[in-house]
Amino acid sequence: MTAEIGSDACFTNRIDPGVDELVVNVGPSHPSTHGVCRVIVHLDGEVVTKAEPVIGYLHRGIEKMAENRTYLQVVPLTDRLDYVGSMYANWAYCRAVERLAGIQVPERAEYLRVIVCEMQRIASHMMSLGSAAADTGAATMFIYAFDQRERVIEAFEELCGARLTYNYVRPGGVSFEIPEGWTERVLQFCRDHREGLEQMDRLFFGNVIAKDRMKHIGVLSPEDAVAWGASGPVARGSGVNWDMRKHDPYSVYPRFDFDVPTGSNGDCYDRARVRLFECYESCRIIEQAISQMHPGPIRTPGLPRLLAPRPGDAYDHIESARGALGVYLVSDGSVRPYRMKVRSPAFCNLALLPLLAEGHMLSDLVVILGSLDPVFGEVDR
């Protein structure tokens, strides 16, 4: 733990007479903050009385940079937003551009986008589950989860040549046609993945230590989840049945039969378990998408390389692995966006940390932070 004793923040809230309050600084480089989050924790003994996240350690100015790039050149920047799930930011941005410029996307491209995004959801949730388990001390689970994640990444590498920053979804379609035999390998992965999930479920979620560490920790009520703008597995863990794919359907999602898993207690255990069940649903969607997909063009034909949409604005959002990821674009008629704004689910979910951590032990703070699954590229942008 890197304690910055003597920094300003340590002394903002001085000690009340008669109360032994200790101010501990966690981060910005701490293995369990899932990135470069800094949390100023006020402790009474070992109990957190106040936790204050400090963000901005990874603020790279992506939104500002987008104003100096053409519409196509912004796509690689969106890769670096949510680097655990790059496909989502690609897609959300491309949807906003397509809405702004009135581009119709071919059906096969939509199916390919759905397939890669559902695989990305698996990869992202595996990272989240693994690190959530590692936070509670179960490092073995991380190995099993990473095994599954690596298989998805291998498939992506085969598809577009990159392991992490794919740049796959482009305005008007996708960049590459799938290689030969890829769908069979993906289907095989879906079958193996279900077994892997069952194994992880038995290994970790059935474990009494995991239950002790995660049940009734960081309880988020459904009312608070809605009031604070939480989305994704964080909101669904509290029993809020809200999934963009189902309740504000986009792309070809209405054609698929899938369920939205929700939790009931709103604690860390439910949030993590919702992620596990979402992986099953993702497998179902991938299988249906592959069976429904027909050959065809993967890009809108005749699309100019330099897009110059008419002046106006557009907002579009998708369900990312972390929640509702939206991109708002303003065009002034030139070839570059006038303004790009990213509505980041990780940022909104991280805002819940002070609410959830209060009254818990310091060691539970990292579990709560892990269960919110923030990615700081997206929080700080």
């Binding site: 790279r60 990473f146 392991r163």
Partner: protein
């Protein structure tokens, strides 16, 4: 370290002490090069590849490199990811907390030069070498885990040139992938060359 430093200085002045020095150097460089504990300074996307490198498929541990998020325990800082102006003081502080001898690997384009964030942004440090002495640079956005392993081998080659005597730093051996080693000057030994062949 102070004692060993002084030992080297004293020995270097004596006649015929080269055999002692080179033996001690080989031993020390072998020990240092083969158990490089890494301080994972992962800030952004490259941190994912850093994690991937240390997990089951790539398994960094077999090279003696073990991620240990504590500056006091580590020999090499792997700066993986964009360093912003807000983050830079923390990175510098952590580097200063590391015990000597210490090395730095700049992993990924952001840590090398700012990468994709070199132009048009106001908050990114253009390369970690602006405030840290970098030993090995890895290009890529992000680099593959294999590149990181290769960087550790390169760092071993560099460590193999170090000497405890102040004026006896040996010259580096340049290993080109897939070809015979090209050595400039005295070849200090075969550190790392055997595993490198095995890994390919």
């Amino acid at each position: 370290m102070a004692l060993i430093d002084r030992l080297g200085e004293t020995l270097d002045k004596g006649q015929g002490s080269g055999i002692i020095l080179s033996t001690v150097d080989s031993l020390l460089d072998w020990a240092r090069g083969k158990s490089l504990w890494a301080m994972p300074m992962g800030t952004a996307c490259c941190a994912m590849e850093l994690i991937a490198a240390s997990f089951n498929k790539f398994d960094f541990d077999r090279h003696g490199t073990f991620p240990r998020p504590d500056p006091r325990h580590t020999d090499v800082m792997i700066v993986a990811g964009t360093i912003t102006k807000k983050m830079a003081p923390a990175v510098k502080q952590l580097y200063e907390q590391m015990a000597d001898p210490k090395w730095v690997i700049a992993m990924g384009n952001c840590a090398v030069s700012g990468g994709i964030f070199y132009y048009d942004t106001y908050s990114v440090v253009r390369g970690v070498d602006e405030f840290l002495p970098v030993d090995v640079y890895i290009a890529g956005c992000p680099p593959r885990p294999e590149s990181l392993q290769d960087a550790v081998f390169r760092l071993r080659e560099r460590i193999a040139t170090e000497s405890i005597a102040p004026d006896r730093r040996r010259e580096a051996v340049l290993t080109l992938p897939g070809s015979a080693d090209i050595s400039f000057g005295v070849r200090p030994g075969d550190h790392g060359a055997d595993e490198q062949g095995g890994a390919r």
